[in-house]
């Protein structure tokens, strides 16, 4: 019964409040001259969070009315173009109708609205009596002071004495971020503060200091200007230092520091180690180069490429010929590496400048054993082995500069300059053995040394212009690459003649001094013009020109006695070559709704000029003067479809002229075992490439699928025909043309989640087939290489603290010799990897990596297994995790070595390099920004 009563009561109260809750609110909006404002927005807001409750418009008489408004605290707001928005809190009446007092809107000071809101596009903020706006929107010249800025602001004046007059009154004090600036001295503030560092200005009447102290309102108001300073949004710096030492005197250290703001990016980096790392990591390289890390289209080559499609290649090695900073490079053998670099980028407005200098050096020792079995016509073979120790000392200075300026929306210029200076010293000792049968063996010991320096410079200028007609473009580029190399060396060989009586023996004793001076210059220029036709067709026309001149001056001296040298005219050569290339082409492109079709043709002309003599100025021994003219068609199609699907197909014809070295009618006997002979009748190599592909990715299920098929057919392929002298075993190579070579490269890959976000798999297969042709001992030989290649990768991230990655790939290369099936080779490369990243409690981490490689060639009984186990255990220290202590073990099984296997047209080779194996390191890292833990890939 009690329950029933209270229920009734409750129902009654609810009902009553329901009945009373709906309000009608009405009123009128006028301006200060008492004219009613029609069409004014009137809003009801909730005072606690300004949430919009209801809104309406006033009618012609300036009247508004809200019906059925829930009874709740309300704020009324009225806004009209050119007037300051008005707002006030409503006092809710007891009755259902609220007549709101007349709302009077004050016009915004004309000047304020025009200058601040309209011209400077600065938002105007009402805070009680204070009007606030973003002063940073006013354009002032660099270096301008607050005074200069104030002069621009409406309602502000600076009198002759430097006093600020705001709205007719003198400003008594200036505060910065609410604090008094130099005792409130206004001039001190206005003349010293930099206008560019100011974000907001607030002008208001502050209480006098007196009343603030006493708390007694004295009625005195001080006109106050408060200046808010900008927080530099894009400003930062980070850096890290790391050092580790360990067993066998192994050590590694690196350090980097970056500092950047909106305009400037500065970084330095350095490393040193004797654990074979001879480049930056990919992340470090990005950080080092900053905004210049990714720059595309700087080559200035326009028009379609012969291979069909453009590639962007990121390659990392410390290649002597490269201008690029080395990265992700792990040397073979044993090496000692150091590098230091500095980078500076400047980005302002439409100007973009980047520069860097990088010096790297490496001292590498390679101890290797190579074996090569050559097949002869009569089904016999001979094997040569080479046991060598090589010491390479290389140092590279590299400079990269780039400047891009968008002059205006239509014109852009890009200038790049790259320079390189390298030194390379090589010492090689080797012991070679030739085994023809157990009876016929011979040996040779070699001792070669060479000192080389080389330098190169490349400058490129690209100009791009967009015409007024949208889609009509023009671009022009010019570049020059100059290089020079100077090499001095000695070659010594001592042959053991014990088992050979033939004077034409395979090995020959030598004692020579070699001097080589090479220089080359390449000028390139390209033009491109694109004309749009009805926005979906584009007519592209391009022209390419290049001219490369090169000079090779190689002098070989036989050392007769310790102080007598005799020029060897057989080996000394002076070459002077020039290749001129002109290509003009045109294509029509259709681009609409994801479909793209391009059909084009180009005419290319190569002119090859060359001559050679024994030394510069002596009798010309041979000349090359060849002109090749070819027409190359090019078709490409790709279509993007809904659901992240894409298909593509293309055909391209490529023409590669023979190298001048292959054309020169002379015998190069600089390596007496492998003699090269030129062929002046060579035709350019023509390739026909067909590519098709399909790929899809579903972002909701993470399923992805890729398929591609590339086929290339060769005409007049430039091949090296070989003749092996069965007596001396000397191989003579002579360039020739052969038609019928083919390559097929299919690829299929499929990725899918096993358990969404926890376990993913990717399976792939890329078998390939290559058919190559050449003449071996005047017999046309066909070699077929089938490569069966497939693999699988698995990623398991079941828990936040655990990541497991595993995968395997298998490749079987079957090389079949059409004319000599008994020599068919089956080479197997099998590899597996697994990697576990485990986050342990208390900021301890464990990384374990296991790699297993197996190399097998049954016909030689070759079977090499290389299991490598690496593990590191580390702990982050400190609250901000800026310190890390790491203990790492590399190659715990002590099995590391570098293995290579290759089956060529009439030979099989295997190689093995002794490489840094087991070592342990204990290291410490400090990172200003906290250590990065890569628990996931």
């Amino acid at each position: 019964m009690k329950f029933f009563l209270s229920f009734l009561l409750l129902a009654a109260v609810t009902f009553a409040s329901q009945a009373q809750s709906k309000l009608t609110i009405r009123g009128i909006v006028k301006d200060t001259t008492n004219v009613s404002l029609d069409y004014t927005s009137v809003l009801l807001l909730s005072p606690k969070d300004s949430a919009l409750v209801a809104y309406t418009l006033t009618n012609k008489a300036g009247e508004y009315q809200f019906k059925n408004v829930d009874r709740q605290p309300l704020l009324i707001k009225a806004t009209y173009m050119g007037y300051l928005p008005f707002q006030k809190e409503l006092v809710l009446p007891e009755t259902d109708i609220l007549e709101v007092d007349e709302i009077q809107l004050k016009p915004i000071l004309q000047e304020l609205y025009e200058v601040v809101v309209k011209a400077a596009k600065a938002p105007l903020m009402m805070r009680g009596d204070t009007l606030e706006y973003d002063a940073s929107k006013f354009k002032v010249p660099p270096g301008a002071t607050l005074e200069d800025l104030l002069r621009k602001l409406p309602g502000m004046q600076i009198d002759a004495n430097g006093n600020i007059i705001a709205q007719g009154e003198q400003v008594q004090k200036v505060t910065v971020d609410g604090r008094r600036f130099f005792g409130g001295n206004t001039k001190m503030a206005t003349q010293n503060l930099n206008a560019e560092s100011i974000s907001k200005l607030q002008l208001f009447d502050d209480k006098s200091e007196q009343s603030k102290l006493t708390g007694v309102e004295d009625g005195v108001k001080e006109k106050t200007l408060n200046v808010e300073l900008k927080e530099e949004a894009k400003k930062g710096g980070f850096g890290k230092v790391s050092a580790a030492g360990g067993t066998d005197e192994r050590w590694t250290a690196n350090a980097s520091f970056n500092k950047f703001d909106k305009v400037n990016q500065f970084s330095v980096i350095g490393y040193g180690n004797n654990v074979n790392q001879s480049g930056l990591s990919w992340d470090d390289l990005q950080e080092f180069r900053g905004s210049s890390a990714f720059q595309f289209g700087d080559t200035g080559d326009f028009g379609f490429s012969g291979g069909g499609g453009n590639y962007i290649v990121f390659s990392g090695g410390d290649n002597e010929e490269s201008f690029e900073i080395p990265f992700n490079n792990l040397n073979s053998g044993y090496s000692n590496n150091q590098a230091v670099g500095i980078n500076y980028n400047y980005l302002k407005d439409k100007k973009d400048f980047s520069s860097n200098y990088f010096y790297s050096r490496s001292d590498q020792i390679l101890e290797s054993v190579n074996s090569r079995t050559n097949f002869l016509q009569d089904n016999t073979s001979f094997t040569s082995t080479d046991q060598s120790r090589q010491n390479n000392m290389a140092g590279h200075h590299r400079v990269n500069l780039r400047f891009q300026n968008e002059l205006d929306s239509a014109n852009t210029i890009t200038l790049t300059a790259k320079g390189r200076l390298s030194t390379l010293n090589t010492i090689l000792f080797s012991h070679q053995e030739l085994i023809r049968s157990t009876l016929e063996q011979s040996q040779m010991d070699r001792d070669n040394q060479s000192d080389k320096w080389s330098g190169a410079f490349q400058g490129t200028a690209i100009y791009r212009h967009k015409f007024k007609k949208n889609g009509r473009n023009f671009a022009a580029s010019i570049s020059d690459t100059y290089s020079k190399a100077d090499q001095d060396g000695t070659q010594k060989a001592v042959v053991d003649h014990l088992n050979s009586t033939d004077p034409n023996t395979y090995f020959q004793s030598l004692d020579q001094v070699i001097q080589a001076l090479n220089g080359s210059n390449l000028i390139k220029s390209s033009l491109l013009y694109v004309e749009p036709i009805k926005k979906i067709f584009f007519w592209e026309t391009f022209y390419n020109f290049s001219q490369s001149t090169s000079e090779t001056n190689r002098q070989v001296y036989d050392v007769e006695t310790s102080d007598t040298r005799e020029l060897n005219p057989e080996l000394s050569r002076f070459f002077d070559n020039k290749i001129t290339y002109n290509r003009i082409g045109s294509s029509i492109r259709y681009a609409n709704k994801g479909s793209n079709l391009s059909v084009g043709i180009a005419a290319s002309n190569y002119r090859l000029n060359g001559e050679f003599s024994v030394v510069e100025g002596s009798e010309i021994l041979g000349r090359v003067d060849k002109i090749y003219l070819n027409f190359t068609p090019n078709v490409s199609y790709w279509k993007t479809m809904k659901g992240n699907k894409r298909i593509n197909a293309s055909y391209a014809m490529g023409v590669t002229p023979p190298s001048i070295a292959d054309l020169q009618p002379f015998k190069d006997i600089s390596n007496p075992l492998y003699i090269r002979e030129g062929n002046p009748d060579l035709e350019p190599e023509v390739s026909h490439s067909f590519n098709t592909g399909y790929n899809m990715y579903d972002p909701a299920t993470f399923i992805n699928f890729r398929f591609s098929f590339n086929a290339t057919f060769y005409q007049n392929q430039v091949v090296q025909n070989q003749t092996i002298n069965p007596e001396t075993l000397v191989t003579t190579y002579k360039s020739g043309n052969a038609s019928g070579g083919q390559r097929f490269y299919p690829y299929v890959g499929f990725g899918f989640p096993i358990v969404k976000t926890k376990a993913n798999a990717y399976l792939y297969a890329n078998p390939s087939y290559t058919k190559s042709l050449s003449l071996i001992n005047s017999i046309e030989t066909e070699t077929h290489t089938y490569s069966h290649n497939f693999g699988a990768n698995f990623d398991l991230t079941p828990l936040e603290w655990l990541g497991l990655y595993a995968g395997s790939s298998f490749r079987l290369s079957k090389t079949d010799y059409e004319q000599n099936p008994s020599q068919n080779q089956d080479i197997v490369n099998w590899s597996a990897y697994s990697n576990a990243n485990i986050k342990l409690p208390k900021d301890f981490y464990l990384d374990v990596k296991f790699n297993y490689n197996r190399y097998k060639n049954e016909s030689f009984g070759f079977d090499q297994k290389v299991p490598i186990l690496n593990a590191s255990f580390y702990k982050l220290l400190g609250e901000a995790k800026k310190w890390e202590v790491r203990l790492s073990a590399n190659d715990i099984f002590n099995k590391n070595q570098t293995i290579s296997q290759y089956a060529g047209q009439n030979y099989v080779s295997t190689g093995r390099i002794e490489t840094l194996a087991r070592y342990f390191l204990l290291g410490l890292t400090y990172n200003m920004r906290g250590i990065e833990v890569k628990a996931r890939r």
């Binding site: 300004s50 749009p532 681009a591 993007t640």
Partner: protein
């Protein structure tokens, strides 16, 4: 809120006050800053954030032109003409939003999360808070309003022109006492701003494809899909803004 929108539509229709201001077309610049969004992903370390901003930061952002057509009773929104006519074409995605103010419903036909969706439901305006700040956009005095999208984790700052009393706007923004001429998300990760307003009946009215092919879902179902997609992306440490309109 719904009834208010309806009332406004009614007032505008019946009074026809200054009718030139309630029908027209707006071109917006949709400018997205992938670097800033990417750098805000929760699993990244501070150094990775700095690296992203440093090496592929683009102070200009990536712009797309969008188009809104409005009447007192409805609005239509889709892609505008591209800024740069390019000799290749990869954009095949559809993105249409139709808001019907009379019936208080919407239709979205869009390619999101790798699929084509047809979303139909009744209009449900975000909870707007109107602030005390004005700015000028193309000669219109605009007031500031803020809202939050808890699913996408976005802080939305919009500027609406009360002299264009049509409660519509670009993308999925609407429900303010005036046309939304600009808005930004998370202090500049996305900036959408009107570049051109033409009053009067648009010359070429946006038309949806005759046959809508896609998965038909309700507004709440779609929100669930979005929530699930974002959660899965965060769990697998991927960025979701490539596949889902930010």
């Amino acid at each position: 809120m719904k009834s208010i929108l309806k009332t406004i539509a009614l007032i505008l229709l019946t009074t026809g006050l200054r009718a030139q201001n309630i029908v027209g077309e707006v071109e917006y610049r949709y400018k997205i800053f992938y670097d800033k969004i990417y750098a805000s992903m929760p699993h990244l370390t501070e150094q990775e954030r700095d690296r992203i901003l440093l090496s592929w930061g683009n102070p200009e952002g990536y712009s797309t032109r969008m188009k809104l057509q409005f009447w007192p009773e409805k609005s239509l929104y889709t892609f505008g003409a591209p800024y740069q006519v390019q000799s290749y074409s990869w954009q095949v995605e559809d993105y249409f939003i139709e808001n019907n103010l009379e019936e208080q419903t919407y239709l979205k036909y869009m390619d999101q999360m790798g699929k084509t969706y047809i979303v139909r439901d009744s209009l449900n305006a975000p909870k707007w808070r109107v602030m005390n700040e004005i700015r000028d956009i193309l000669g219109h005095m605009c007031m500031k309003a803020v809202a939050e999208d808890s699913i996408k984790g976005q802080k939305i700052t919009a500027w609406f022109a009360s002299d264009i009393p049509v409660p519509v706007g670009p993308e999925e923004q609407f429900g303010l006492p005036g046309l939304i001429l600009a808005y930004d998300i998370n202090d500049g990760m996305l900036i959408v701003e009107a570049e051109k307003i033409t009053f009067g009946e648009p010359e070429e009215i946006i038309t949806l494809p005759k046959k809508l092919k896609g998965r038909e879902v309700s507004g709440t179902q779609y929100q669930d899909l979005v929530q699930d997609f974002i959660q899965t992306s965060i769990d697998s440490k991927r960025a979701w803004m490539w596949e889902l309109r930010y």
